[in-house]
């Protein structure tokens, strides 16, 4: 049984004419100890999806099923809070700058009542150790730490209640290249040790490739393709995925991939065309795409894509 199952999830901001549909019917599952990479460009709804999954925002439709139980009611919420946590994009912003590290880390333990008061100190040291920081960091404040160290503390805070799933929203985007690699390696070693599942949200495909087991590609509020990481990078199916992958600059000087340059820009989510939302930028577009919304369907090899040209 999957750890998390999301069924036909919708999230719309505002009402009436001003309504902005950020997530438009997403289905996905995450298994215990698995990393699902969620990639897409700005405005595709990936962050909103992450915030809904972690419970910072209410879905406007659909279901979230966690560990076999649908998420509703107060009791389930408290339990959910302990088991699903989040790490944010800007390490300097995501820590309370007036609090000592030790206070920030003790809060989840005290407030979520996951540890006895006399255990708290030991738990903090244990998790600090896990993220590579020693007890000397306990009395420090966020501004005394580098960006990478701050992100380690943010990861530690998320790990404090011993969650089963951590939503990582662009956790390495604001870090320097050399620090990025270390944080990815850290996340992987934590996963091996704690068997925690990740929903790893990023616009940076090369980072996702280094950590994800499976990848879901989002475009304008829908998942357009989902497949195991290597398959999606080696042989993308959806025309958007192909263009997205080909646009990533690589350091390899000898094997230059043929670029697919997309025409135009992503349409505004308030003014979506009927049918497939990718139709105006797609090279494979035909009449059916302009009238009917394609659905995420399984291909013979078990991968999933949302495109008539691919699934037909």
């Amino acid at each position: 049984m999957a750890l998390l199952e999301v069924r036909d999830l919708h999230k719309t901001f505002g009402h009436g004419h001003n309504a902005v549909p950020a997530v438009r019917g997403v289905d996905l599952t995450i298994d215990h100890g698995e990393t699902l990479g969620l990639v897409g460009e700005s405005g595709c709804g990936k962050t909103t999806l992450g915030r809904v999954v972690v419970g910072l925002q209410e879905a406007t439709g659909g279901e979230i099923i966690f560990d076999g139980e649908p998420l509703d009611g107060r009791l389930a919420r408290a339990e959910y809070r302990r088991r699903v946590q989040m790490v944010f994009q800007h390490p300097a912003q995501s820590l309370n700058r007036r609090m000592k590290i030790v206070t920030t880390l003790s809060e989840p333990l005290r407030l979520l009542k996951v540890a006895d008061p006399d255990e708290i100190d030991a738990r903090i040291d244990e998790v600090l150790q896990l993220v590579g920081l020693g007890p000397i960091y306990r009395p420090r404040r966020p501004r005394q730490l580098s960006g990478g160290q701050q992100q380690r503390v943010a990861i530690a805070r998320a790990l404090m209640p011993n969650p089963d799933l951590v939503v990582l929203d662009e956790p390495t985007s604001s870090l320097d290249q050399s620090v990025r690699g270390r944080i990815i390696a850290l996340l992987r070693s934590i996963q091996r040790e704690r068997d925690v599942a990740y929903l790893f949200i990023s616009h940076d495909l090369s980072t996702v490739r280094r950590i994800a087991d499976r990848v879901a590609v989002m475009y304008l509020g829908r998942i357009v393709e989902m497949a195991p990481t290597e398959e999606i990078f080696e042989d993308p199916q959806h025309p958007y995925t192909k263009a997205l992958l080909s646009a990533v600059p690589t350091m390899d000087l000898d094997h230059r991939a043929q670029r697919i340059i997309l025409e135009g820009e992503t349409p505004s989510p308030t003014d979506l065309p009927t049918g497939c939302s990718f139709q105006d930028r797609c090279s494979l577009v035909h009449d059916r795409c302009r009238v009917e919304q394609p659905l995420l369907e399984s291909l013979p090899d078990g991968r999933m894509a949302e495109c008539f040209a691919v699934t037909a």
Partner: protein, 316 residues
């Protein structure tokens, strides 16, 4: 003679002996894209501002030469660079912040044309629309009537490029022009910049932290750390045969498996000698001095005492 020659640029905070940039030098040839790469705090943006004569208040240029087509651009009185828009222009990371929010974008480009090419107002307006069309903006006439906040980030960057183009510059400095944009839009902008270079023969100084972008775009590359040029050479030389310990470290950090338990410190620099000295795995006592650029191969230089010919002196 190169199109743009920058040498020995040294920059610091007023009333303070420490330097932010130390003897930075580079050259750009006509029709060439020179990459300037480094992590945050490496001084790559500060270098571009010094070259443009746009140093912020409180920061002074202590010495340095900037010559364009053999002409010295440094004002002997102020010690700062003075240049015209037709010599060098710049595009920035956040194009919307660089545009005037209260003026229609077509008018902003037309103004540049009126000032730089002495076009009469009506002609400038038409040329502005042509320029927008030239940078691949669909419906250029409509976009010309828009205000910056009505346009997407990618569109604003195209407008900035159109405006730069309107000056017909010899040198275009692009400071992280696509960092704030999505990859598919980035690919469009990269194509556009390459097309323009091929078409106008101007030189580009392309500043980025992204090694992949350097590999895509540049002919030659200069690597900076802590306000010091570490290594410079042709793209292939530097990428396939990096010589400086910092460059190797930078490339390694992208691919290499790292030990996640080793905690990153703030990016900081050695005060004396080589700025990488205190982090360098192969530092030795000579590194207390500032290393010059040594020629390590043809068109490939590296600022490290390891390349010094007299191997006997203190190498470990």
């Amino acid at each position: 003679m190169s199109l743009l020659e920058v040498a020995d640029i040294t920059v610091g905070v007023k009333h303070n002996p420490q330097t932010l940039l130390r003897e930075v030098g580079l050259t750009v040839e006509p029709g060439e894209i020179m990459g300037l790469v480094g992590e945050s705090g490496s001084g790559k943006t500060m270098s571009s501002l010094a070259i443009m004569g746009l140093l912020p208040a409180g920061i002074e240029m202590r010495k340095g030469n900037v010559t364009l087509e053999g002409r010295d651009l440094v004002d002997p009185e102020t010690g700062e660079v003075s240049r015209t828009a037709s010599e060098m222009t710049m595009i920035f990371q956040h194009p919307r912040d660089a545009l005037n929010p209260t003026m229609r974008v077509g008018r902003q480009i037309a103004r540049v044309l009126e000032i730089n090419q002495d076009l009469p107002r009506s002609e400038a307006r038409n040329t502005a629309v042509d320029t927008l069309r030239h940078v691949g903006i669909p419906g250029a006439a409509r976009v010309a009537r828009a205000y910056p906040h009505q346009l997407s980030g990618g569109m604003c960057q195209r407008v900035m490029i159109a405006m730069a183009l309107a000056c017909k510059p010899r040198i275009l400095i692009a400071d992280e022009p696509t960092t704030a944009l999505d990859v598919t839009i980035q690919a469009q902008i990269f194509d556009l910049i390459k097309d323009l270079v091929a078409e106008t023969g101007c030189g580009v100084l392309f500043i980025t932290h992204d090694l992949g972008a350097i590999a895509e775009m540049c002919d030659r590359v200069t690597v900076m750390y802590g306000g010091q040029v570490m290594e410079t050479g042709t793209l292939r030389e530097v990428f396939t045969n990096p010589q400086h310990p910092y460059t190797k470290y930078l490339f390694d950090s992208v691919e290499r498996e790292v030990d996640p338990r080793v905690v990153e410190e703030d990016v900081n620099f050695a005060l004396m000698g080589c700025r990488f000295g205190h982090r360098c795995p192969s530092a030795f006592e000579a590194c207390g001095e500032f290393p010059p650029l040594y020629e390590v191969a043809e068109a490939h230089r590296s600022s490290c005492f390891l390349h010094r010919k007299e191997e006997s002196i203190g190498a470990p």
